[in-house]
Subunit: 321 residues, 2 copies
């Protein structure tokens, strides 16, 4: 059994290679550039951990983990175009540096490269793994489309937002664990449980992310605190406030969104506090985290095998009391 | 054995179905819209013909043919963005009608849908088929990148242009035939021969396309005759003229390209005729066609099984004497 940290280091070494041919350099250069930016590589490590909960890590799991990371990077390259994002991890995005057309093609070929790796998986499980991968890949695209649609909409319900987050973020975490579990020989019920653990952990993580964007410690939170509020971004907090606050505060929230006042962030935060949206968000996060841990508990392996995932969950999402 | 026309009709019926779920309609609606535009469906029919040369058409070949057509449409949706094309088959392109972001995602999910279909292929050949598909898919992306690169370059050699056309156009025709042949149980040598037949047929077709754009009968050619010349598009004709014409005519060609004169097309055509570029192009086309037919002849099945592909080749490329 390996800890999350150790598997992360091992995967980083494994992933540190050329993934594409030399030519055309105008296509594959941008891909290598983007992969070279680094990243936390959480999804591939989840795949390795999903395998190791049930058996020693198989060579197939390394292939699959690499495919998952390539897939994730494909989505990032294309999402950056759609979001018109100039920077990622402090470096120029592919479309800014090389143009939109090359960024589209670079993403396309990154996705195909993921499938190339998956084609080597043991024939006994290749269909099962690819079926899950394909379903998940489509769901991630659907999540991105919903996200773009919601940006243009006046109002979005809590249920709609939850489903969007699930598709855009959670299912890939969940599927990464489950694909590893399949390769490790897990039975159907254990596969389903590890999937649901990942799904709920992803939701808890997103609630935490939305919370920290508003109430986080500026010295610890990686992004600008209040960024979501300034951008009128629909978040768990805003959607809940608009659904549950008294009519007067709902109106005030909407009015603030229309204006560019210097104290916009402070005013919104005050409404959130008045309506106890902050406390609600922490409860919601804890609920998803509890549900995730219940699924983890229910997996039928000795508890020592669950330790690395418990540690990882604690690293990704901090419990608040 | 079925003729090309009959298989085309059968495939059109088979393909006339919903390929995507209802929701999100903002993502899958554009995909159904694009597929509903129709098309000649040549690639999937090549897959069916490749199968039928060696055995009765297997259910897998229908799945594979559908996957190939979805892949082809994925490339068209993304290429239309890159080419900034407003229309296809007289209808608005996806990015014009629904925006670039949705067109990127719609293409992505179309590619994933192709892989979903391929996941059902017989395990005995799934790796071989997907391996060829993945290699071909990457090559098509490489061809598109070269095409974009060449547009910005001062000069492109005949060999470079030939390789670009091979990647962008020929390999998918060739692979469609070969994937069908694999599913039909063809041996390795027959697989290679049918691939090379498709590859050379694709090259002959492109030479013909470049030729007809300059010298075609306006009443028969589907596009505007002279369109390539007006757009300064690098074609087999232009590249050969710039490589072989006397220095004075090379200079004249380059001068004409800089200007927007009313008789631009006539002037370029005159140079082509003076340098006998037209005759050279017809010889080149015939050479590729001859090579294609030699590969077809060499396939080790009785000749009656080759008739449908011979007919198709005659339909796609007309021999000139």
């Amino acid at each position: 059994m390996h800890s999350f940290e150790l598997l992360s280091q091992k995967f980083a070494l494994h992933f540190e290679q050329k993934h594409f041919p030399d030519e055309p350099a105008s296509l594959y250069g941008p891909n290598e550039y983007f992969l070279g930016m680094g990243g936390k590589r959480i999804r591939p490590v989840l795949c390795l951990m999903g395998n190791e909960m049930f058996d020693d890590i198989k060579p197939d799991a390394w292939e699959m983990a690499t495919a998952i990371e390539l897939f994730h990077n494909f989505t990032l390259i294309h999402d950056d175009i759609m979001d018109n994002a100039p920077l990622r991890r402090g470096m120029e995005t592919v479309h800014k540096k090389y143009g939109v057309n090359t960024a589209i093609l670079a993403g396309d070929v990154m996705l195909i490269a993921a499938y190339e790796l998956m084609n080597n998986i043991n024939l006994l499980v290749i269909r099962q793994v690819q079926n899950l991968f394909n379903t998940t890949a489509k769901e991630v695209c659907e999540g991105q489309q919903y996200d773009m649609d919601f940006e243009k909409r006046e109002s979005v319900s809590f249920q709609e937002y939850l489903r969007m987050i699930e598709l855009k973020t959670s299912v890939l975490l969940a599927a990464s664990l489950k694909m590893g579990a399949i390769l490790g020989g897990a039975g159907q019920r254990n596969q389903d449980l590890i999937y649901d653990f990942g799904r709920k952990l992803g939701l808890a993580f997103q609630v935490q992310d939305d919370y920290l964007d508003a109430f986080g410690d500026p010295s610890k939170f990686g992004k600008q605190v209040g960024g979501d509020i300034l951008a009128n971004k629909k978040t768990f907090l805003l959607i809940h406030a608009l659904e549950t606050a008294p009519a007067s505060q709902q109106k005030e929230l909407k009015d603030i969104q229309q204006k560019r006042s210097a104290d916009k962030v402070d005013k919104v935060l005050q409404i959130y506090r008045d309506c106890k949206v902050d406390e609600w968000a922490l409860r919601l996060k804890n609920r998803f985290l509890d549900e995730a841990f219940t699924h983890l508990e229910d997996i039928a392996v000795i508890s020592s095998r669950k330790e690395p995932l418990k540690q990882l969950a604690g690293y990704l999402v901090q419990r608040d009391h």
